[in-house]
Symmetry: D2
């Protein structure tokens, strides 16, 4: 390990931890100082894929090590807050898996604590660092799509039923963090409605539909599903100029930009003639070349850069809090007969 490398403790040697360890280990900016898991043998096995990491079973033990600059948390959401607060109290920067925490209040605590300690709090919204999402954000920002008319995101799979959360809290953080990343100003819907199916009668939704009316008649919709036999990960971003489709499972054509649309001309009272007032564009399709880069590698670099440059990372705690706000609204909508409920977007402004 070089003297100017940052040291990180990875907490959680389960599903995602190994990916974090591999990417921190391969990065010139980082070395893995420790792997922490309640199960020592899992921690040791994962530590053995590095030259530098020791295996520990408690966060206190990890924080007591020399050369630790940051803590990366890959444990269940319910445990994020205590680990993060301990790390912040010890003066460490923090990276958490999605979602930031299990509730808005808890996430807000984490954001506030990091802000007060002047430390970086970053969410590992991995998809935001994929070449596809970076390109989509760039195209939207450059106005290539025009005004956004609709957003339709589908993330369905024969997935694992999670013991502690419903399908919205399990899968929708991906979609919501992507929307937060690509929408100018971030994801700030006024209202959300959620519809859930619980056909196995597990007491939580396994099939979920989330609707967010946007400004000027636009609409965003997310379909998340643990019971689908096939896997679909597709995002459509409709625009007044062009419409974009991201198919994450098509490696040779992930992002397609369609120059197809409906141009609005004029509205009269006469409904019979309304069709004639619309003009259709059937233009070419463009598939931008994307670099072959691993998202996690970019993410760990961004974490290092934010620490060194003392600036918020691209997916900071506030972004993660906006995602939590929407998730919280889905839970309230489900409890209210799927009614449209308000999203509390105000609280986070106070701390920005």
């Amino acid at each position: 390990m070089s003297g100017d490398q940052l040291g990180v403790v990875v907490v959680g040697a389960g599903y995602w931890g190994p990916n974090l360890v591999r990417n921190f280990n391969l990065s010139d900016e980082w070395h893995v100082a420790a792997v922490c898991d309640l199960d020592l043998s899992k921690a040791e096995r994962l530590a053995s894929t590095t030259r530098t990491a020791v295996a520990v079973t408690s966060i206190d033990e990890a924080l007591a090590l020399d050369g630790v600059d940051a803590v990366a948390i890959a444990t269940p959401a319910r445990t994020h807050e205590p680990i993060a607060l301990a790390a912040i109290a010890a003066g460490k920067h923090v990276l958490t898996e999605k979602p930031l925490s299990h509730s808005v209040a808890s996430g807000q605590l984490m954001v506030d604590a990091a802000a007060e300690a002047d430390l970086i709090l970053m969410a590992d919204h991995t998809f935001c660092y994929t070449p596809a999402v970076l390109k989509i954000a760039e195209l939207v920002a450059a106005g290539e799509l025009g005004d956004i008319t609709f957003i339709d995101s589908v993330r369905i799979n024969h997935g694992l039923v999670q013991p502690d959360v419903d399908v919205f809290w399990d899968l929708a953080p991906h979609d919501l963090s992507i929307l937060d990343f690509i929408l100018p100003g971030g994801l700030r819907p006024e209202k959300v409605a959620a519809h859930g199916g619980d056909p196995l009668q597990l007491g939580k939704a396994c099939v979920g539909y989330l609707v967010m009316p946007l400004a000027d008649g636009a609409i965003a919709h997310v379909h998340v599903n643990w019971l689908s036999p096939t896997k679909i990960r597709q995002l459509v971003v409709g625009g007044s100029r062009r419409t974009l489709v991201w198919d994450d499972l098509n490696p040779t054509q992930r992002v397609s930009v369609y120059d197809r649309g409906i141009d609005f001309i004029t509205v009269t009272e006469d409904s019979e003639r309304a069709a004639a007032q619309v003009s259709y564009r059937y233009g070419d399709t463009w598939v931008p070349a994307l670099p072959e880069k691993e998202a996690l590698s970019l993410m760990v670099s961004e974490f290092a850069a934010a620490i060194r440059e003392h600036r918020p990372p691209r997916t900071d705690g506030l972004a993660a809090l906006r995602v939590l706000n929407v998730l919280d609204a889905t839970t309230r909508s489900l409890a209210n007969g799927s009614a449209l409920v308000n999203v509390e977007n105000d609280q986070k402004e106070s701390i920005a």
Copy 2:
């Protein structure tokens, strides 16, 4: 034309009329007696693809011809009722394009008139006669899927903005008629919610999401969209035993039956152990061979058989009325902030 062929008048020489004419003309059971359209040249051109049809410009003229047993209506929904009632008054059987009419009340009038006159009223729910939907209905009826857990239907396209109806009334009749056909007992949801996007501000939804909670935590969802740059026509029917996917745009594999599922074992109070109580099946996939038959050819045969056997056709007026009931509910939900609204399923029972 043979003496025992039935004679049909096709009303409307626009988009769908030619398909009806071609199939009636090729059927041994039918001959086309007339093509009726306000535009005589269109009527003549279409009539010239048969040896038997005359071209006329009014329904009265058509009904006055000899050898007319039935009237097939392929005009906008708003015009169905007067044409159908005139045909019924003249003692003719009636076939209508979807939807049956532009309102539940109007559709009910048509159903009642046909019942009173003891004539067949059939809806051309074409998709129900495709080999794929016939196979799906057969599999569901045989219990191959087990209990239905969720239904997800997507019908999106760069479609024509219709002058008189929104995207629900334009496209969802397809999905709803299919659901009515495959669900045991037909489509009879208690409640419906609809979410619409109108980003072009045309005063009607161009992007639509329709949700129907079903019994025992199951859920049905339909996505219809005029603004999608790509075309998707996919129906997933989730079941407790197997899950089925119908991809209508994949000619070599339209229907796939996945032996994948989540078996529910037992629920305890302890949420930590809930995951262990679930068992996953990752079995084989089966793609049933489907005959290569044109749906419209089967549909015109069913119309003839219903007339000859004096029995309701498979997609009769009541089925079409159940579809109208749901469409009507979408309109009421949209007017009520996308709330779940009741579906009026009772009225039609009185006339069955």
Copy 3:
């Protein structure tokens, strides 16, 4: 039928005849004067889809009718020559299904007879009139692909074993006519090798591979197959600037133009350094919008235009003869242990 419409007799009411009848019937340029088939009931049934056609059972009967300008032949290849020569002798223009005839000598007779009588002889190379192939020919002619580096055509299917021809003569005429259409100067390979599989031991190839070395190290290859369980119709045209893929079974993206390639820099003796002398381009992909037009409709218009303008049609007898030359070479190669054999490209020049 209008006075200045051309009259056509369609010979053969089997698989392809109905498509010709439908398109001639819908064209403003044509009327169908007769349908001719040995089986009168088939002729009558097909004639009944027009207002104008009579049904006849002999070509002599058809040629004796008034108002016949042209004969369209949709019968097995072995019967093309006598029908075409009779039509030409009667002063009629001739359109034939692919291939032009069953041998080069026979095809040459037909070409010579038409030339002598100053009549149009056209081959219904239908694919050449699809929007996709028209676009490909345009792109190649404009130099968008650069020099052609390789051509790979796959046309495989669970197809009908033909009684009289092998898989090369049955399917490769499609590929070869397309190559003839898009290659500047037409398809004129010097040599051809053919490899055939006859696993059912029917005495003819059911699986075929056809190779044509082209100038400057380029190569063309065609795979035709009656035994494939899946259907593929794909053509790749590799170019020094860009490479094009035509997937005929993907309606939403038939033609894709890839700005990917390998740029040649310099060659040294040192093989170790050769890799460094090559530079790779991974640019964007472009999917040109294609009009929605039926190929057969364009084809019958081209036939009419060639007759009226007294000029060779785009797919004339000489083009069809070039296709026959290659087919003839495949047969000779198969008889010679799959050796590369010469293609006789000279004969046709004498008559041009």
Copy 4:
């Protein structure tokens, strides 16, 4: 590292070496004793992804280490022989990347040396250990496909032009090793023809077609291509009973078994009636569930098992030599105007 683990030296820290290191490191059966590469910094970086490996720059240094049981060679083919012979001389078992060596003679030397020293020589034919190929081999062995009628393998990509070998030697070892694995008795064609395109005029084929006539009219064909803009990895195994398609890039449906075929009934002299003697089956398609296992993990287990059980591994030196025999024949065919040339299958029998 546990006392009964086998120790392996991985030679070559380039493209493939990291995959070997990762899998040996994660295996309970192995520990990585050393990483050897001429470039010390590459060796060190790769060694640092393990807890156990030292980095060395020469094979002699590696062989002198304690606890080395085997050597895994992931260097260019031309260097395999000296490394393998040195390892065998030192009493080590050997695993080599594909192809076994750069010539039949060289590969034979390696096979002979290992046999004489009673050591395991195994080829890392990775694809043979994928769940898909294991399933295919099982289905073929069980007679599920019946007699093999044709084999069509396509492996095309925008690939790297290799400095020292043509596209046949670069890519076809994959296809040939798979065929060797699934064909009962291994891959032993009598003759091979090869057609190559060299449009960049690099002095070697960049586009290659390889044909192998099999017994009883069956045929095998392999298409390898460095210039394709799209990536295809597809194998079709046609059978008299069923036909199988392996699409390696379709993660949700890699292997499909089609119950479609052509049943041969009887042949008469009368070619007109031949069509009637053939009967077509259009049965269901079956997609067997495949376990999610990493092929390399199974491969390193098989290497350990072969060593411990003192038995040939599934992809032993003789299998690799059969692949070399075919590659050698492609080179001779290319030098002989693409003629069918004999494959030397005898030599290896002498040592079996």
